[in-house]
């Protein structure tokens, strides 16, 4: 009985996530965050007038879903770099790739990588406001 309930929960969650993602994709594709009220604005920007590292992310997604890659990149370049990085790391962690690429994975997630990301995010934050 427990196993059955566990499985039901799993299926329900998966379906819920798929539906949610589908809704978001349609929402972001058909509405430009610049013009629509459906999308939250950045609290930091509203309060200080300066962009935070995540600002422009929603617009970037909108343009990407509409095929406008260049425009998407302009809204938030860091998002694209982060997306590539995240996908690479997650793929390398899967059993298929992990054994052969441990060194690369460590280079991407070790101490030096942490420092590079930290410095990079701060630098991006400052530079995009100049």
């Amino acid at each position: 009985m427990r196993h059955f309930e566990h499985k039901i929960l799993w299926i329900f969650t998966t379906i819920a996530v798929i539906v949610l993602v589908a809704v978001m994709v349609v929402l972001y594709r058909d509405n430009n965050p610049l013009e629509s009220n459906w999308f939250p604005k950045c609290g930091f920007y509203v309060m200080t007038g300066y962009k935070c590292p995540g600002c422009g992310g929603q617009r970037a997604v909108h343009y990407l879903l509409n095929g406008e890659f260049k425009e998407s990149f302009k809204q938030n370049p860091l998002f694209h770099i982060a997306a590539l990085y995240i996908i690479t790391v997650l793929v390398l962690k899967t059993p298929l790739f992990y054994p052969r690429h441990k060194k690369v994975l460590y280079a991407l997630t070790g101490l030096h990588a942490c420092i590079i990301w930290f410095v990079g995010i701060i630098a991006f934050w400052i530079l995009r406001n100049i």
Binding site: N37, P53, I86, K103, C114, I115, F118
Partner: protein, 230 residues
Amino acid sequence: MSEQKYFYIENGNQVGPVTAEDLLGKIDPNTDIWCPGMTNWAPANTVPEISALLGGASAPVPDVVSADSSPYSGGNSQNYGNPDYANQQSSDANLQQPYGNPQQPYGNPQQPYGNQQQPYGNPQQPYGNPQQPYGNQQPYGNPQGMPTGNKPDNYLVWAIVSTLFCCWPIGIASIVNAAKVDAEWNKGNYAEAQKYSENAKKFATISAIVGAIGLVIYFVLVFAGAAGGM
């Protein structure tokens, strides 16, 4: 005290290791034998303890039985390393020819034992963990008593996601903790590294939750007409 092991020649082949008693039924006084400590193969009757076991019937080398440390020292040059055994003790014609120089067919008598130090090689980590190419000093063990195993995950990927996509103040805290995981691990502070790993994960999760809640609240407000144009 471990028993002395011997090797002997039978039908041109090296046999052993065996104990002294085992030799009794197998060899005759002229059989070449060797044991650790001997520089070369030698007939059984030139090795005192074996000769004694065999009854010492044809023991022609009186010096050998002296009490000093090396029974084979002194003037018994006739018995060693010298293919020309034929001229000393017994009348057996089959003594040396099949064997030639005791060194050759059997190689270095030391070999049967090989290097005794490392039968299993380095017990530590044949594959190492991913950090080893960078010289991670794990072998010192952990003064805090945690098992040295694999480095705890620093959740860097989730830290970055939570900074850019959710709530940057908490996300930045997560990244800092992620960096400390590796820093402490490389220094050998395993318990500290584990603690920072849990922190990194915790902050990344909190950031994600805060971001999600913020989003939900915003949508609710928009729905209610209160937040449009904020």
